[in-house]
Assembly symmetry: C2
Homo-oligomer: 216 residues x 2
Amino acid sequence: MTGAVDEISETLETEIVEGILPPGTRLEEPALAERFGVSRTPVREALQRLSASGLVELKRRRGTQVLNPSIGRIVEMFEVMAELEAVCARLCARRASPELLATLHDWLERCEQAAESGDPSAYYDANRSFHLAIYKGSGNSFLAEQAELLHLRLTPFRRQQLRLPRRMRQSLTEHSAVVAAIEAGDGQAAETAQRDHILIQGERFGDFLAQFGARS
Amino acid sequence: MTGAVDEISETLETEIVEGILPPGTRLEEPALAERFGVSRTPVREALQRLSASGLVELKRRRGTQVLNPSIGRIVEMFEVMAELEAVCARLCARRASPELLATLHDWLERCEQAAESGDPSAYYDANRSFHLAIYKGSGNSFLAEQAELLHLRLTPFRRQQLRLPRRMRQSLTEHSAVVAAIEAGDGQAAETAQRDHILIQGERFGDFLAQFGARS
DNA sequence: ACTTGCCTTTGTGTATACACAACAGAAAAT
DNA sequence: ATTTTCTGTTGTGTATACACAAAGGCAAGT
């Protein structure tokens, strides 16, 4: 089984993304090796793979730690995410098929239900599926993969946002605007709507951090 | 020295990008280990790193080989590259500084010189620098890194294009239009000009391949 | 008390060895 | 003659061992 490195990297990825391993956490190979009951070799490969996804940072001779980007860096990442999603939305509008529209409406509805029942976790999942549908709906699988990867990288910094008051309902309204634009075949409108939708998240992230002292 | 894995990965990266190791080439660890005079361990890490850059493909239990994407895949990658560059150009126009404009004009001139002397290699280098300047000129370092990485991944499929007749002069004209738009602060014009500039490369790639039989 | 140098400890970088899966070729059976 | 199976070989996956760099603590000197 090559499953060792797969299992390790997937487990660590989940724990990083879910915040169990917060940014800055040191990942020491001997400890992980003992934890997973394997030698250091597969652990190293797993860390290398996580480094490829941009989730951890490998400093030479200084060990591995969960990536702890500066605020400016995170804002930059949200900016790129916004542009990627905008492109996806534009392509969706251009190539929209009945199936895609049905899928989008479906997830939109689930988002609505989650918002009404005030369940942030359910909303988070439905929201994620909605965005993934837009990525794939672009018709460009490479673009979809890139968007999904960046989405994953930003997850640790986005999850906390839904706890902000009224964020769910506002997000829902923005989603509706995007779907409407796609349905109308208006690429420009879909692009700007989706870009703004993501950029607001970046701004909200800034607001969120402003509540505490600024990190690095 | 951690230099072993660095040296190996950089050497292989160069050889892949320059076409010395064509797409599909198998990379066997024992052979590489002997070639570089090291054990398999650093070789494996180097291959893992190249896999992260998207230059090689790691199939489980089936070895490593230089990535050999399908034509459709390459077209998709060019499409994403076009969008990334378009965003960079738009941001350049918005944030253009005198220094950036000077740099762009400088590289534009070098492109011109290379085109006049009919030196594809020199043009290639100047062209690359021109595009890198636009990436960095976006003011978003994360975006610049992503664009540079994708640019690298596409290099094996772009180098051959400059041998096509009149491509250099046409490329030059397109560059001028982009710089003019940036200088005028017209983000929309810069965006579309740069996008078209890259998309043409993608189309040219299709033309190029059409001369032979289609690969996978 | 503070600084500076050495030493110990910890953790990474690399090498080597073993286990096993996958491919290739040959031999045997139909 | 074709197919199937067995076996040898090749190459990857993992474990273990050693080398070395870097961080931290302690002691000695100022």
